[in-house]
């Protein structure tokens, strides 16, 4: 126990250092600002760590600047969360460009550059009266993970190399991925993977990480910014044939909220630029792997990145 807890503390310290180190000088002043006094909003999120952490960052930012927030994070399912916002139960949450494009705007074309997709999604959401704030640089795309040991053993460096795996190797995907236009069937086609050469297993998305580590899955379908990839000793090979669309996150809110609080829109806009792929992975890992509280993680990120002084 003693040894283990030391190890955990050491990892925590390393991650905390990485987050702090990437930011400029941080201030220790904790006095609440007043620039958002009078703002009172309901912040929601989807039901997975990344979405929750991103919304907690917004929540803590508003609180630190004197505004009021009702926390309605962790709503089950993307569509439900979007519905909750459109119908006014929540005022804002973080959405992904790729998801809005495919799922809400029901488009099917996937080969688009991140910034072009962002513009199209913003334009497409005008009809739904949804305002998009600037997007993050991180791309929470679908990715394939394999253990580092297997990657070395079979010489896997790119997605095309995954074909070098033994015949009948298990590929684990979740049911949603099976149905998506940017999903399983299209991937097999793009990389010319024959159904007869592999085994497909359909699992819950959260179970895939551990099952890949345990060897029940040779290849697992994961999310690129998930903290468990690093923590479980998995690696993501290079995408050598461009296939997945971009999934950059951006805070979305109803037009009514944006109009009511223009100062809030302006104040929240710089947050997205501070969250890189590595930062997001660190924040996710602190919650998923180290078990830290999402609010605490959000607060320390805001201080470390200089967004809250």
């Amino acid at each position: 126990m003693q040894v283990k807890s030391h190890k955990v503390v050491a990892i925590a310290a390393a991650i905390a250092l990485a987050v702090v180190g990437s930011a400029a000088t941080s201030s220790s002043a904790n006095a609440a600002g007043t620039s958002l006094k009078g703002v009172s909003v309901i912040v929601g999120s989807k039901d997975f760590t990344e979405s929750i952490v991103l919304s907690k960052i917004v929540k803590q930012f508003i609180l630190a600047n004197g505004g009021k927030v009702v926390d309605k994070t962790n709503i089950k399912g993307s569509s439900t969360t979007r519905e909750a916002m459109v119908s006014g139960d929540i005022n804002m949450y973080w959405e992904y460009t790729g998801t809005a494009w495919l799922v809400y705007q029901k488009q099917t074309d996937v080969n688009i550059a991140p910034d072009v997709l962002y513009k199209k999604v913003v334009a497409g959401d005008k009809a739904a009266k949804v305002t998009w704030l600037p997007m993050t640089s991180f791309n929470d795309t679908y990715a394939w993970a394999i253990t580092k040991a297997n990657a070395t053993k079979y010489g896997v460096k790119t997605y095309s190399d995954l074909k070098k795996l033994p015949a009948g190797s298990a590929w684990c995907v979740e049911s949603e991925f099976q149905s998506r236009p940017d999903g399983w069937a299209g991937f097999k086609k793009a990389y010319s993977i024959a159904d007869s050469s592999i085994t497909t297993k359909v699992l819950d998305t959260g179970a895939i990480y551990q099952a890949t580590k345990d060897g029940q899955c040779m290849v697992g379908e994961v999310f690129a910014t998930d903290g468990r990839i690093g923590a479980l000793g998995l690696m993501v090979p290079q995408e050598d044939i461009s296939y997945f669309p971009p999934y950059n996150a951006a805070l979305t809110m109803t037009d009514a909220t944006a109009k009511k609080y223009p100062q809030l829109v302006k104040a929240l806009a710089p947050i997205a630029a501070k969250i890189s792929n590595a930062t997001m992975q660190n924040l996710n890992a602190r919650v998923d792997v180290l078990g830290e509280d999402a609010d605490t993680v959000a607060k320390s990120f805001l201080t470390a990145s200089g967004l809250v002084k």
Partner: protein, 263 residues
């Protein structure tokens, strides 16, 4: 006077029509239910054949995918129901025998715990420990659904008037004979009600098979939900209802056949 009253019943034709009416009256719901199931299936088939499908819907709304899902779903529900029956009915009988009565509270607590477990959580942990696939799904569903039938078997046997069993023994029956000829037939209605509950329960729970590589109708429901494709979601839901209705009908037909007459 009595002669005159009995008169109309003596003609062959009216005898026949009356017994037909009696059969219909007695089994009305047994006859109407399959008609409803057929109507529901037909309505679904017509809706699907006329629907204009987009790329996402086409992946799941096609004959091959749907038949595979129904087939997997039937395998999951029947297999787990079979495991439940094979475990719960003998266990229920044993637990009402004098020698094993003392274990009843403990076993009922275990069965309660089985049902109270968050099904998805148990499934995934079991999958990580023992390997993902149909077998682990079937045993997890069985653990989940064992309570109603176990409880009904115990209650059905306990509710029998002890004087009846005593008189059976007094007439010279061995305890085994009393169990087979008196106790079990009397408990059948309550046990079969438990079987029906179990079957419906397993059909519902089998939608979770999608989380552990078990297949089933969850492969329509979950992506339909997550990707906001109502047609896919509703198709999965209605098919589950159809399977559940069919199972319920089969179980009720079994009840009609197995229920002891005249006791």
């Amino acid at each position: 006077m009595p002669k005159a009253l009995a008169q109309p019943n003596l003609t062959a034709g009216s005898m026949y029509s009356q017994s037909a009416r009696l059969i219909f009256k007695r089994h009305r719901s047994l006859i109407i239910q399959p008609l409803l199931i057929l109507a529901l299936s037909a309505a679904l088939a017509i809706t699907l054949s006329r629907a204009h499908l987009d790329v996402i819907e086409k992946v799941t709304i096609n004959q091959k995918f749907i038949f595979r899902a129904i087939q997997d779903h039937l395998i999951l529900s029947f297999a787990s129901a079979a495991v439940i029956l094979a475990v719960a009915i003998p266990a229920g009988i044993l637990l009402t025998r004098r020698r094993y009565k003392k274990f009843t509270p403990i076993v009922l607590i275990l069965a309660n715990i089985g049902q109270a477990f968050p099904a998805v959580g148990v499934l995934i942990i079991a999958g990580i420990l023992f390997g993902f696939g149909k077998p682990i799904a079937i045993f997890s569903f069985a653990a989940f659904g064992i309570l109603p039938i176990l409880r009904n078997t115990i209650v059905g046997l306990q509710e029998i008037d002890p004087f009846i069993i005593e008189s059976a023994l007094g007439m010279g029956m061995t305890p085994k004979q009393a169990l087979r000829q008196i106790e079990l037939p009397l408990a059948v209605p309550v046990i079969l009600a438990g079987v029906r509950t179990t079957l419906i329960l397993t059909v519902g729970v089998a939608t979770l098979g999608v989380f552990v590589n078990g297949g089933g109708l969850g492969t329509l429901i979950i992506p339909g939900l997550k990707l906001n494709r109502e047609l896919v979601l509703v198709t999965g839901g209605i098919l589950t209802v159809i399977v559940a209705f069919t199972m319920d009908w089969l179980a009720r037909a079994a009840e009609e056949l197995l229920r002891p007459r005249g006791i």
